[in-house]
């Protein structure tokens, strides 16, 4: 068993909104962080909903720790920590009450570890959550997700809306979490800079369809963008083009191997690229 999470051909249609998640397939190895990237409404939260059973998938298979998770499989959920964007908990609770409730939910709930996180994150124990700032509520959610010793963290836009300092602090917590080789994180985000910092693999989703999964190192070190004139673009081998986007005076072409492209097309400018630009080209660009 190499993967902590595996999705095979997962589909889900919402007839009212006409949105379809189409044959989503990816896997998350043990000890890795997978960044799940896509624009708002691309299907990230729906995919996570299917993984966590808050949404019923129409078809496909999802395995967590090697088995499909049904509503009855509470022991599997003991091993998962979840953080959603925004208010995860009723705002009339205090952190102290939250701990008491979670102790009744999780057999492995570690009150002293939770208390340690509260102290590390400077979160007041007896203040109602409604008086917390956004950064504080997210820190509380992360502390809660970690305090029952999970093996898999599923974070749905957990860093959005946080200032860069808090985000950095949280990313360090995630990196610390995956130091254990059996720990993994699925981190959905549209803040690609976060993923560039911590992800091992990045999966792109657009309009409910998976566009690409690649290792971050591959994306950062091998993927490149060729800045072509029209005539240069027409001379390119279509097999080399992953996606392209016409701009005012040039055509940006995404290629999977910048060095080879530079050798093959000597007169074309080949730039290193960012996850942000790759996402833009994949989402806004065209494909042959």
């Amino acid at each position: 068993m190499e993967n902590i999470l595996e999705l095979q051909q997962v589909s889900k249609t919402f007839p009212k909104s006409n949105f379809t998640l189409e044959n989503v397939t990816f896997s998350l190895p043990y000890g890795a962080i997978l960044g799940f990237v896509g624009e708002n409404g691309a299907g990230k939260t729906t995919t996570i909903g299917c993984i966590l059973n808050t949404i019923a998938k129409d078809s496909g298979t999802i395995t967590l720790f090697g088995q499909e998770m049904l509503d009855e499989d509470t022991s599997l959920r003991e091993r998962i920590g979840v953080v959603y964007d925004g208010d995860n908990f009723p705002t009339y609770w205090t952190a102290k009450q939250l701990s008491k409730i979670m102790k009744g939910f999780y057999t492995q709930w570690d009150s002293s570890l939770f208390q340690k996180y509260l102290e590390d994150f400077h979160l007041p124990t007896n203040q109602e959550i409604k008086h917390y700032s956004r950064g504080m509520t997210m820190k509380l959610a992360i502390a809660t997700a970690l305090a029952h010793h999970p093996e898999l963290l599923i974070l749905d836009e957990a860093t959005s809306g946080l200032d860069p300092i808090v985000r950095d602090e949280m990313l360090n917590v995630f990196l610390e979490f995956v130091q254990e080789e059996n720990h993994s994180i699925l981190l959905s985000s549209h803040i690609t800079s976060d993923l560039e910092k911590i992800a091992d693999y990045i999966t792109f989703i657009h309009n409910g369809k998976l566009i690409m999964t690649a290792s971050k190192n591959d994306l950062v070190y091998n993927y490149a963008v060729m800045r072509c004139k029209e005539s240069q673009f027409l001379a390119l081998d279509p097999k080399d083009i992953l996606a392209y986007r016409k701009r005012d005076f040039q055509i940006d072409v995404l290629v999977s191997n910048g060095k080879e492209a530079q050798k093959k097309y000597k007169n074309v400018v080949v730039d290193h690229t960012s996850v942000d630009e790759i996402m833009l080209l994949l989402v806004k660009g065209e494909r042959i």
Binding site: G49, L52, N53, T54, I55, A56, D71, E72, T74, S75, R77, E78, I80, V82, Y84, G86, D87, N88, F89, P90, T91, Y92, W93, Q97, K100, I101, M102, K103, G104, F105, Y106, T107, I154
Partner: protein, 218 residues
């Protein structure tokens, strides 16, 4: 279940504190007035039992304001346990209401003597209070999962009226079964029939609610 019950308790707590304070105040008034106005004691008894139950089910809406409803499903609890915890919480709060009602009526009787026409009246008041509360819960929970929390107030109204209507309907039916004047045994039997019916509907509503909840997506 312990965590779920605690969760439901915290959701109900702030409203219940206020309600309990008002009920305590009203209890003092009722006990002070004595047996001059028996309908006041009757009203107090019904209000405490139905009021505490109503508070319990009304608190479901508070959870909907955040992602807690979704989050809860990612924790090691089943949907069936979540629904059972709501039903159990209602029963617990109904018991609290019955204790309040019992203390109120007991104090009134101790200080001012028996204020009802028949000894069975006190029993019947408990039957009506508990019956309405149980029917109310049995109607409310499935409606809540069919219609969603944004229609909470309407469903509360419907279930309260429905619960009252069912108890009145059953009483009318029992009155036709046992024509007046009813004996004490017949009154007690009638009360037990209402209570058993309410309990059966309440228990039957739990799997129905679970079935509906299983279809809900968050």
């Amino acid at each position: 279940m312990k965590g779920l019950l605690r969760n439901n308790f915290y959701a109900t707590l702030s409203n219940t504190k206020i309600f309990a304070a008002i009920m305590l105040l009203l209890e003092c008034v009722v006990v002070a007035i004595g047996n001059k106005i028996p309908s006041l004691v009757m009203g107090y008894m019904l209000l405490t039992m139905i009021g505490f139950s109503l508070n319990s089910i009304a608190s479901l809406r508070k959870e909907g304001a955040t992602k807690w409803n979704k989050y809860k499903l990612t924790t090691p609890v089943t949907r069936s346990a979540i629904v059972q915890s709501y039903f159990l919480s209602l029963l617990l709060w109904l018991t609290v209401g019955m204790i309040f009602a019992g203390i109120g009526v007991a104090l009134s009787i101790m200080l001012h003597g028996f204020l009802f026409d028949r000894s069975t009246d006190v029993f019947m008041l408990f039957v009506v209070g508990a019956g309405i509360s149980l029917f109310m819960g049995a109607i409310f929970f499935p409606l809540f999962y069919i219609g969603g929390e944004e229609r909470n107030e309407v469903f509360l109204g419907i279930s309260l009226l429905g619960g009252t209507g069912l108890v009145m309907g059953l009483s009318a039916l029992i009155n036709t079964l046992f024509p007046a004047p009813m004996t004490t045994t017949q009154i007690i039997l009638g009360g037990i029939i209402i209570l058993v019916c309410a309990l059966l509907v309440f228990v039957a509503s739990c799997p129905v609610t679970t079935y509906l909840y299983r279809k809900k997506e968050y």
